[in-house]
Symmetry: D2
Subunit: 185 residues, 4 copies
């Protein structure tokens, strides 16, 4: 889905694979590929994480930042930070991963809620000015993703940004298919 509005700042309870916390504000000037996943989501493991690695391998780190976002909206008891660390170790994940901040209002964590994600995996592309330009749930083709990032890389002009809206979650059902894990709002 092509969109164009300011990307809300990440709300994070912990960072893994980075010596210091990251922020979208500090990454302004780079294209950011933000990949929301859950460690026990089959579509994330088979498709999302390999594509995130491929983005990291294809583009210069000076141009494109790849960040994982562990947005747990189901089975919170087993997808803990400790389990995620083991998962990232076993799967040799090298990019920084943010643990999405749990909500006190429901199962959907705060960043996932603010970005109105439909489930995992979801790919979010944020341009050099910090605007969200693409939000996709499920499997996106490698060439399509490459083309979108290529176009964002070619942009240079900056614009001021407005405020994002917040929509806190309550009582959601979730379900996983071959494509990913979806929230039924």
């Amino acid at each position: 889905m092509i969109v164009n509005h300011p990307a809300p700042e990440l709300q994070v309870s912990a960072w893994i694979n980075t010596s210091q916390p990251l922020s979208l504000a500090a990454l302004r000037g780079k294209v950011v590929a933000l990949y929301a996943f859950q460690m026990l989501c089959p579509g994330c493991v088979s498709h999302g994480i390999p594509q995130a690695n491929l983005i990291r391998d294809t583009f210069d780190a000076e141009d494109v930042a790849v960040i994982g976002l562990h947005s747990v909206f189901e089975h919170h008891d087993v997808m803990t930070r400790r389990a995620l660390e083991v998962f990232m170790h076993e799967y040799r994940i090298k990019f920084p991963v943010a643990v999405d901040m749990p909500s006190s209002n429901g199962p959907v964590p705060l960043t996932m809620e603010q970005y109105q994600l439909r489930g995992t995996p979801s790919l979010l592309l944020i341009d050099r000015q910090g605007k969200l330009r693409y939000s996709h749930f499920g499997r996106a083709g490698d060439m399509q993703v490459g083309a979108l990032i290529g176009q964002l890389l070619a942009e240079t002009v900056a614009e001021p940004v407005a405020e994002p809206a917040t929509d806190p979650a309550t009582g959601l059902a979730a379900d996983c298919s071959g494509e990913g894990c979806a929230i039924h709002r």
Copy 2:
């Protein structure tokens, strides 16, 4: 690895996806494909479990029994029975899975130790008479596995079996590669 000796009985702390406990003794007469895996082992997820599903889809359940064996030898704290249940639910695993009985002597569970497995995923093929005929760690080709099962299915004669040896585990290092997770004995 082609072998030929009596298959030790499974030592199991819990069963999932079956209304009652299974045993190799009760499956005598069928070929048994026993697939040792760990839920956070990348090679198990990308190769082992799909191949176990393929065995289940290719052969008649009257002829070939497919059983998963969750043999956790590392990161025991996060690969719990509860986490395994979520994993099996999300990955739509339909075959029965035995949780390998933890050892009081070390990280390697009892069935894994008795079968002298080198790591996960490991495929064990047991013939109609209850003898272990094939034990393979890592990725085995679908055609090769099909050929081995086909040959075991063609066998009809029974023979008496001898006693298996036991070798309890102590202090093992473990490591995962693209192929699977290995024990360094």
Copy 3:
């Protein structure tokens, strides 16, 4: 399709990749995997020939003979023997290939007609006694094919065989899909 009747002898206008002509009669005692293909059939190139190579790599040449059968039933003017030789060179095909004998009655060559093949690719499995046991048009799974060959390898008893029927071809339409190229009889 599981069948069980004597395999008609091959009718061949030329052999490639073998110093002397082969015959099913001379291969008696081995399992024979006969792979009918056309060099410009997409399903043959993407699936059939790789599977033929896999059979050759999986089984001992003493046990299983892999033979290609170039059964051209359309576009005879461009799928010539010379073009086939270039194709086999470029695709690094190492197994012997028989050029199916053209018919004077129609586009379907003689061996293809005698085996009543529906199109290309078709896999034919012939047992140690020279009986046709499996005939499959289109894509067959590697595990399934392995299992069939494994079962044939486990057979040892010989039986006398009866005469095959012949059904000469006349005026056929042909069409290729992702699965292969089919004769519309």
Copy 4:
């Protein structure tokens, strides 16, 4: 290989899949993906043509023109125009294909020679102003290709172009690997 110089006009002996001849001059304003291939080149069939189809499916035809270039530099006797037409029919190739003009000086056809291609498959990307920006022999990743096209699509400015050099071919050896078919200059 990233390059940046005027793309020589195509030298074509025949066009297939188009009602009238195309030219780079007439396509000025679009990005052009020119895919050099040979119908009996394994890497072209397994990788090049599927990627050309993917480019065609990913981008709007108003923005990106996909053109095949049949550049035969070996086995000219079997890779004829008629054989190519059968190949394109069987493989369901929908984009226009130019038959590269044979040379009177050697086996390498004229367009292939002018673009100094190392073999097939080769992907050439030409920008909106008619400049050659990328020339790649062998397998290029889908994401990488998508990114390059995406960046070219984002460009709008035009510049004047200079003359290309010509280097006629003489006596070349050729060889195919899994990656493609190479000219040994």
